[in-house]
């Protein structure tokens, strides 16, 4: 057991720190500001071009073939510099590399990793949230193409995306929507396939959603009305969509893949600075909320160290990502609560209060990427082995 940097890790850390000192874009705290989301693409390409993104991904696709623990160093240094977190798209990379053909990987991974092509993920629908397999968007074969019809929701960055990793029903015999029918020929999760759908085309309509903290640039709904995608853009085999979706959501639950620790650590540090500037202005309970958020954030940082170290011997966590997602959620929400506590009355007298926005955004963490209730079901039945009836 050794938490120290190896010589190669120390060299990487020094190089990264020096680069950040000169290249921190000074964006506002992510999650609370439209400007952050608007300029996120610039940050992605800057980080990538400097050689600090896609660390553990294959070099032939633009990654660096490094062990996953290098991402711990990246998150540490981004937080310490007050820089924006790394782009959270590791789960898309995992999904495409696990299920995509060589041709698909070669076509899409380099642009995804470099940030030259931007992606969104079209899974959820108005009537298919936690019950994702009941989704109703269809992909109908028409010559060399598929025609897409349906309605996706909670689609982050859809307005700026070049591509959508879309889950759609390709087998008309499989039943979407509502309860399984006794006449169902194919179970509802078996008729699904995944596609890389080009977003810039006439059959797609964007409808932004405003989040409870006022952000309009992150979230959206996407309507597909006769949109077209080449059959060659199918990722995996026909009917492999559900397995691909499960690969993606299991990685979407891992804080080591998402890099959110940097965001939490940055916020906690700002809260600590606020209190330190005038400790006598804060009550004991406000200080305690900040210290607890610090303890939680450190826990998550160390938990990510442990998880990414375990990957050194190729351990695949399977359902373990649900544990990590729940821990991450508790951390984000304790940081949000601390921000609200420190802000005190300002949070209710100033609707633009930054802490209020951090707090409100934190409430989404127990829903996005699979609700906490779904994660607990997974932990209980698949990890603890509790009986299902």
């Amino acid at each position: 057991m050794d938490f120290r940097d190896s010589p190669a890790e120390a060299e990487f850390r020094d190089r990264l720190r020096a680069w950040l000192a000169a290249n921190n874009p000074g964006l506002p705290t992510s999650s609370t500001d439209d400007e952050y989301w608007a300029r996120q693409a610039e940050w992605h390409t800057a980080l990538y071009d400097a050689g600090f993104f896609g660390l553990s991904w294959p070099a032939r696709f633009g990654g660096h073939d490094l062990p996953a623990v290098f991402d711990v160093i990246l998150d540490d240094e981004l937080a310490a510099a007050g820089a924006p977190p790394r782009p959270s798209l590791g789960y898309l990379v995992q999904g495409i590399s696990t299920h995509g053909s060589n041709a698909i990987q070669e076509r899409f991974l380099p642009g995804l990793i470099s940030g030259r092509e931007r992606w969104c993920q079209g899974f959820s629908e108005p009537d298919a949230g936690s019950d994702l397999a009941s989704l109703r968007t269809t992909a109908t074969r028409d010559g060399d193409e598929y025609v897409i019809d349906g309605h996706k929701i909670w689609t982050s960055y859809s307005d700026v995306a070049d591509w959508c990793l879309l889950l759609a029903r390709t087998d008309a015999g499989s039943a979407g929507g509502g309860a399984a029918s006794p006449h169902e020929r194919v179970p509802k999760h078996k008729g699904l396939s995944a596609f890389a759908v080009p977003m810039q085309q006439p059959g797609i309509e964007q409808r932004p959603l405003r989040m409870i903290n006022g952000i309009t640039n992150e979230f959206g709904q996407v309507l597909f009305d006769g949109a077209r995608v080449s059959a060659a853009n199918m990722i995996g085999e026909p009917g492999e969509g559900w397995r691909l979706a499960m690969t993606i959501v299991s990685h979407e639950r891992e804080p080591g893949e998402l890099g959110y620790v940097a965001r939490y650590a940055k916020t906690v540090r700002q809260l600590e600075e606020n209190v330190c500037a005038d400790p006598s202005a804060f009550r004991r309970d406000q200080c305690e909320a900040v210290s607890w958020a610090y303890v939680q954030t450190e826990m998550l940082r160390l938990h990510v160290c442990r998880r990414l170290s375990e990957r050194l011997d190729g351990v695949d966590h399977g359902p373990g990502g649900s544990i990590d997602k729940l821990l991450m959620t508790w951390v984000e929400q304790s940081v949000g609560s601390a921000a609200l506590a420190v802000s005190g009355a300002r949070a209710v007298t100033d609707g633009d209060d930054e802490a209020l926005k951090v707090y409100l955004y934190s409430r989404a963490q127990s829903v996005m990427g699979g609700t906490s209730q779904i994660q607990k079901n997974i932990v209980a039945t698949r990890i603890l082995g509790l009986p299902t009836v």
Binding site: D2, F3, V72, R284, Y294, S309, D313, L386, P387
Partner: protein
């Protein structure tokens, strides 16, 4: 960076868990089995675990904080009724002073068991608590201010009460009353510095955190098994989501606690005394809160039987209460962290 166990650490973890689960009490009735408890004590002694922090050949201790934490975790999971952390912490402190702790020594704590007791007169002015002392007469090491630092002295207490009179049914807390004579310890070659005490506290925080991680894992194993067997409404109670979610929360708390406790145990010997101490405080704050929730969940999931003396879950809860309090509970650690990081004083309203 590689936080995995080395092969030696993995082997120690396996051996400690096996020994503790073989000889630890499986039921409340087992606590009265003195033959078993004696075999456990002999096995722990013969394994050399009490000497982990004794002086090695080059001066540093034989083993690191990680190894001590591995054993503490295993004993916590089996609610092992054997003195381990108490003697090891005494021997660690004695080593720092260049002295040898006599067998059966523990460190004397002042109430509320946060810090080693400080003594200035020829007799003690307030009660001193010897935590995790074995059977028989106990000698408690205390600190005596000496120039810029401290030297060690000892106070001796008679055995008071059997194991069941303590809160923790698996480890003793011996009370040595005020007015007990303070004896010098001969042959000390070093004065203890502030850094010595910080590093020693870091070890105490790490070992109590590791014990709590073990307690959580042990009580969860018991509780998941119970929820899978106990039937109501014709089905196992563990099939109800309300129960499943309580246990899932508890399991996550245990996993997070393990991550933070491992780091604290590694920090003891590998970071500056102040950094090691802070790592210990972070771990202890998290583990103490988590263990309280996990043990209370275990009582709840056991239902009526969980509130009876004969159900083993309160043995875990009681052990968690002592391990939390020892070296300071979550509230104490958060107060220290506020002082350290926010400039907030203890007297803050």
């Amino acid at each position: 960076m590689d936080t995995r166990d080395t092969p030696e650490q993995a082997e120690l973890r396996r051996a400690a868990r096996q020994l503790a689960s073989r000889l630890g009490p499986a039921t409340v009735a087992d606590l009265a089995d003195e033959t078993r408890a004696k075999r456990l004590a002999v096995a722990v002694r013969d394994a050399g675990w009490l000497e982990l922090r004794d002086v090695g050949q080059e001066g540093p201790p034989l083993a690191g904080g990680v190894e001590v934490a591995i054993v503490a975790d295993a004993l916590g999971a089996a609610v092992g009724d054997v003195a381990f952390a108490g003697p090891v912490l005494a021997r660690d402190l004695a080593r720092r002073a260049g002295a040898t702790a006599m067998e059966g020594s523990v460190v004397g704590f002042s109430s509320p068991l946060r810090d080693a007791a400080l003594v200035t007169g020829a007799v003690t002015a307030s009660p001193i608590f010897g935590v995790d002392a074995g059977d028989g007469i106990v000698a408690a090491l205390v600190l005596v201010p000496d120039a810029e630092g401290f030297r060690l002295a000892q106070v001796r207490g008679e055995r008071t009460g059997g194991p069941t009179t303590a809160t923790d049914l698996t480890r003793n807390v011996r009370v040595i009353p005020a007015g007990t004579p303070v004896h010098a310890i001969a042959g000390q070659t070093r004065r203890l510095t502030r850094d010595d005490l910080a590093q020693w506290s870091a070890l105490g925080l790490a070992v109590t955190s590791a014990d709590l991680v073990g307690v959580m894992r042990g009580v969860l194993d018991v509780t998941v098994a119970y929820a899978s067997e106990r039937r109501q409404f014709g089905v196992p109670v563990g099939s109800f989501q309300a129960v499943q979610h309580l246990l899932a929360d508890a399991h996550c708390l245990m996993e997070g606690s393990l991550s933070v406790a491992l780091h604290a145990s590694w920090s003891v010997d590998n970071r500056s005394p102040d950094d090691a101490c802070e790592a210990g405080r972070i771990a202890k704050a998290y583990c103490a809160r988590a263990a309280r929730t996990v043990c209370e969940t275990a009582v709840q999931v056991h239902g009526g039987i969980g509130n009876t003396w004969d159900c083993v879950v309160h043995v875990y809860l009681r052990r968690a209460l002592l391990s939390s309090q020892w070296f300071g509970d979550d509230a104490a650690q958060l107060a220290e962290l506020q002082e350290l990081r926010l400039g907030a004083t203890r007297g803050l309203s």
